[in-house]
């Protein structure tokens, strides 16, 4: 089992586009019991990865509860780093 932050980034290893809710949905089975598995933590991890050039923002909109959704995709160098350092 990967550490949570690694698992979040691993969701983008193969060019997938995802927002925080999609990532949480994909990881819920393995990580829902982890105390740090919160929407706030996932959003911050994604924004940090974006700030460091691992992820690109692809689009953004509002969901049915008028909450912001930002979608991300790994950059070429980000994908390369995920493969090399996380090994997925």
């Amino acid at each position: 089992m990967l550490p949570l932050n690694y698992a979040i980034l691993a969701q983008f290893a193969h060019g997938e586009e995802a927002d925080a809710d999609t990532v949480m949905g994909a990881l819920a089975g393995a990580y829902s019991s982890a105390r740090q598995f919160t929407k706030k933590a996932v959003v911050e991890a994604l924004m940090t990865a974006h700030a460091n050039g691992l992820l690109d923002e692809t689009r953004f909109d509002l969901d049915d509860r008028d909450q912001l959704r930002i979608y991300y995709q790994a950059t070429d160098s980000g994908r390369d780093m995920i493969h090399r350092y996380i090994g997925v």
Binding site: M1, L4, A34, A51, G53, L62, I70, I86
Partner: protein, 362 residues
């Protein structure tokens, strides 16, 4: 109730994230100042008082070089205990064990060795050889970190940011100016070269480990950092330096004497806690707002260290010799302006404020 548009929510989210990064990086510099004041206090209490006193039984080499490594090692190990405790309370211990054996975890360990034992030992040695003349050289680390991040991680570094970094460097020079004129020693040139090694070491740590916290969660990263630094300092560097002092058996004796000296350990417990925040928030701040800005905000420790030494050692504990020079306050203002220049593009700021003013008028 009016609902914010997606663009408005996104702008707000980005602004909050950026501001949080700035606050975290600034608090890391303040924590560094507090850690420095308390570690200085710790290394003056109990058995340390007799080691550094006029009737010391230790050789000059041990007093000058070995005790610094011992203090740094104990502080980092106490800090690691805090880090493990906090990670445990927050339910991150399993992630810590999972991260340690991965490549990013090992990168953090390598950074801990470079920025911990290597850079810290270089700093202590250079300080002893050249005196406080080295302060402006070690203050180059934010600039070096920004340059490294530009080349290693393609981070943004434009002319405005370079000017901001230079302003911060000038502010640090202002603080170190009086000591710069005061004590030039015979070994100063070699001391300055060794001080540059410390600056490069911290620059590598700030740039690489800051980027590394994109992958390794920062509280897990700092647990790895402090454990590595403390263990390498006490189990490798300290015995090595005692060996050079001609008495390797001195190392365990010094460690036992230091950790059983209650008067000083209580202050190491406090300094270790602040060291934890100094480094963890440094990593996190760098990862949130980029190495150039993160390290510039953290670099304000060149003001916070004398400030908290004055406040805690001078004012609270009534020790002489910690008075804060008036120039330090001026330098703090200059440093703030430098950070502002790195953080904010004046043209964008002017454009944004003009357009919101126009909207209000309309």
């Amino acid at each position: 109730m009016s609902v914010l548009t997606a663009t408005e929510q996104k702008t707000r989210l980005k602004r909050t994230f950026f501001t949080k990064g700035l606050v975290i990086a600034t608090v890391s510099g303040m924590a560094y100042g507090l850690y420095s004041a308390f570690v200085t206090q710790a290394m003056g209490q109990g058995v340390w008082g007799s080691w550094y006193g006029p009737d010391t039984v230790l050789s000059a080499f041990v007093v000058v070089y070995v005790l610094g490594v011992l203090g740094s090692g104990i502080n980092d190990l106490v800090s690691a205990v805090w880090a493990v405790g906090i990670a445990g309370l927050k339910g991150k211990l399993m992630d810590f064990f999972r991260s340690v054996k991965t490549r990013p975890g090992m990168v953090i360990m390598a950074c801990a060795v470079i920025g911990g034992p290597i850079a810290s030992a270089a700093y202590i040695i250079s300080l002893q050889m050249a005196g406080s003349i080295i302060a402006p050289i070690t203050a180059l680390c934010p600039a070096l970190g920004a340059i490294l991040s530009r080349f290693l991680f393609k981070q943004k570094l434009n002319l405005r940011m370079v000017i901001g970094i230079l302003i911060c460097l000038a502010a640090t020079l202002m603080i170190g100016w009086s000591s710069l004129q005061a004590d030039a020693r015979p070994g100063a040139v070699l001391g300055c070269v060794i001080a540059f090694i410390a600056a490069v070491g911290w620059a590598i740590e700030g740039a690489v480990a800051g980027f590394g916290t994109t992958v390794v969660e920062y509280e897990i990263g700092i647990t790895i950092r402090q454990l590595t630094s403390g263990v390498v300092n006490l189990l490798v560097v300290l015995p090595l330096m005692c060996f050079f002092a001609g008495h390797i058996g001195l190392a365990p004796r010094l460690v036992v004497d230091a950790v059983t000296s209650g008067g000083s350990m209580i202050f190491f417990v406090i300094s270790g806690l602040f060291a934890l925040f100094a480094y963890s928030l440094w990593y996190k701040g760098n990862s949130m707002c980029g190495t150039a800005l993160g390290m510039a905000c953290n670099g304000a420790y060149s003001f916070w260290v004398p400030f908290f030494c004055w406040l805690i050692l001078g004012v609270f504990f009534g020790q002489d010799g910690w008075a804060l020079q008036p120039i330090a306050w001026v330098a703090a203002v200059v440093m703030f302006l430098g950070i502002l220049v790195i953080a904010v593009n004046p043209l964008e700021w002017f454009r944004r404020n003009t357009s919101s003013l126009m909207e209000e008028v309309a």
